[in-house]
Amino acid sequence: MGFLAAVGRIFLHFLEAIGRVTQFTGTALFHCATPPYYIAHVGRQMLEIGYFSLPVVGLTALFTGMVLALQSYTGFARFSAEGAVATVVVLSVTRELGPVIAGLMVAGRIGASMAAEIGTMRVTEQIDALSTLSTDPFKYLVAPRLIAGFTMLPLLVLVADIIGVFGGYLVGIYKLGFNPATYLKRTEEFLEAMDVISGLVKAGVFGFIISLMGCYHGYHSRGGAQGVGAATTDAVVSASILILVFNYAITEIFFAK
């Protein structure tokens, strides 16, 4: 009896949380679409997400592409299909690894800082102060971050794709001894527009999720420094999990037959 009640309670809490996030999302989208727009804030967030994440995302993409070439070579060598390395690298990077790795890195970098910043504003009553100065916190804080996340992550992933493929190329040429021309030819031979597009769609969704979780947890944080710390952790963890879940869902939509 006690056990069932506990399960029921957890389930209800879960549904309640989903309801709250949905409502938050609805309000946020409404404020994204209606004036006033804080263009300067959108710009600043875009810079923060798109430009300042470049080194982290670029480095991880580079090494991911490199290790991918190395691993698939060892695997394919067992049945003499070494020639497929270039194709495997480009498909894995554009379809899966580029968006997912960039998403997870940005979730750690940006999601955390959004939750910490907005959370601190919440517990020091700065969000209340915004309202008393006739400024809607959703418009001023949440909307610019959502717009920037949604638009900048695809660009970031495009760069990550290129760097990742380049990493594979480096290993392919200098370590595995492929002919550069053949490697490049194999890279583009089987690549379809849909592979890249699906990856960019994922990136847009992930960017939205990262900003949403950062803002949501920050906005609802309470209880001082400890509360802000918890909000930061929650933002990163929930964004990471949602990224993996949505990654599967979007792959299913695009490629399941």
Binding site: T124, Q126, S131, L133
Partner: protein
């Protein structure tokens, strides 16, 4: 025109946090261009009451009218219209730490009224001067200020748009006696010269005597006494008497366990 209708009218206001009842049927009128000071023990819900009027907290029951317009349960448009009339000094100042001091002060002017930066800065510097802060402070960031300076910047921000109603949550806490008196004068001046309605919270009885037309005491979730400032010294109410004389013995029991 509206002289006989109170600027703010509160009836039966109830606010709970979980099981804890903080406000339990508050009734209070604040007249047009009147300065009311709320006194009461720490944690009795004075700040919560202000936040209910501002619509930052949703009360469980009761009615709050500003200029005859109901705020409790009102839609966005009404809430926005009402919040435009009210300037608020938060107890913890609540300055935006990503903006400089002068941008904080002129935030309402630039955001809500669309004023240009040059003009807004000029007004911000005037308001800062009114709270005793010089031009060199204007470009600092809030993190570089002392507690009392933050409070004064918060005050300058609250009055910058010349609102019809101003809420001061402990305007003189953390200030030295001389600066406290400067701030008292500023509150008096806001009411007298700008024609504002003021609702202040303070623990400082000297300040209360100076700025209030009327004093109201909040205790156990209700306004237990309200009356003109001159009457405060001969009130036939043991609670008020204990509070204004700051005695540990009396009907108000502080929750201290030795």
């Amino acid at each position: 025109m509206t002289e006989n209708r109170p600027k703010i009218r509160i009836r039966g206001l109830v606010k709970r946090f979980g099981r804890k009842v903080v406000l339990n049927g508050v009734d209070l009128d604040i007249g047009y261009r009147e300065s009311v000071v709320i006194i009461g023990g720490s944690g009795t819900g004075k700040s919560v009451m202000l936040k209910c009027i501002l619509g930052l907290l949703a009360p469980e029951a009761g009615s709050i009218q500003v200029d005859g317009e109901e705020v409790v349960g009102a839609g966005r448009a009404v809430r926005e219209r009402v919040s435009r009339k009210i300037g608020m000094l938060f107890q913890g100042a609540a300055l935006f730490d990503s903006l400089s001091v002068w941008e904080n002060v002129s935030f309402g002017l630039m955001q809500a009224e669309g004023m240009g930066r040059t003009e807004a800065r000029k007004i911000a510097e005037e308001k800062l001067a009114a709270v005793g802060l010089g031009k060199e402070v204007a470009i600092l960031s809030p993190a570089e200020l002392s507690g009392g300076m933050k409070k004064r910047v918060g005050l300058a921000r609250a009055i910058a748009t010349n609102p019809e109603v101003i809420f001061f949550d402990e305007p003189t806490t953390g200030l030295d006696p001389i600066m406290s008196d400067v701030i008292n004068d500023l509150v008096v001046k806001s009411v007298k010269e700008l024609g504002a309605t003021a609702l202040s919270i303070t623990h400082d009885m000297a300040s209360a005597r100076k700025i209030a037309h009327r004093i109201a005491m909040l205790h156990a979730g209700r306004i237990i006494w309200a009356g003109p400032v001159a009457a405060i010294d001969h009130v036939d109410n043991a609670y008020v008497d204990q509070f204004i004389h700051g005695r540990a013995e009396g009907p108000i029991k502080m929750e201290v366990r030795a």
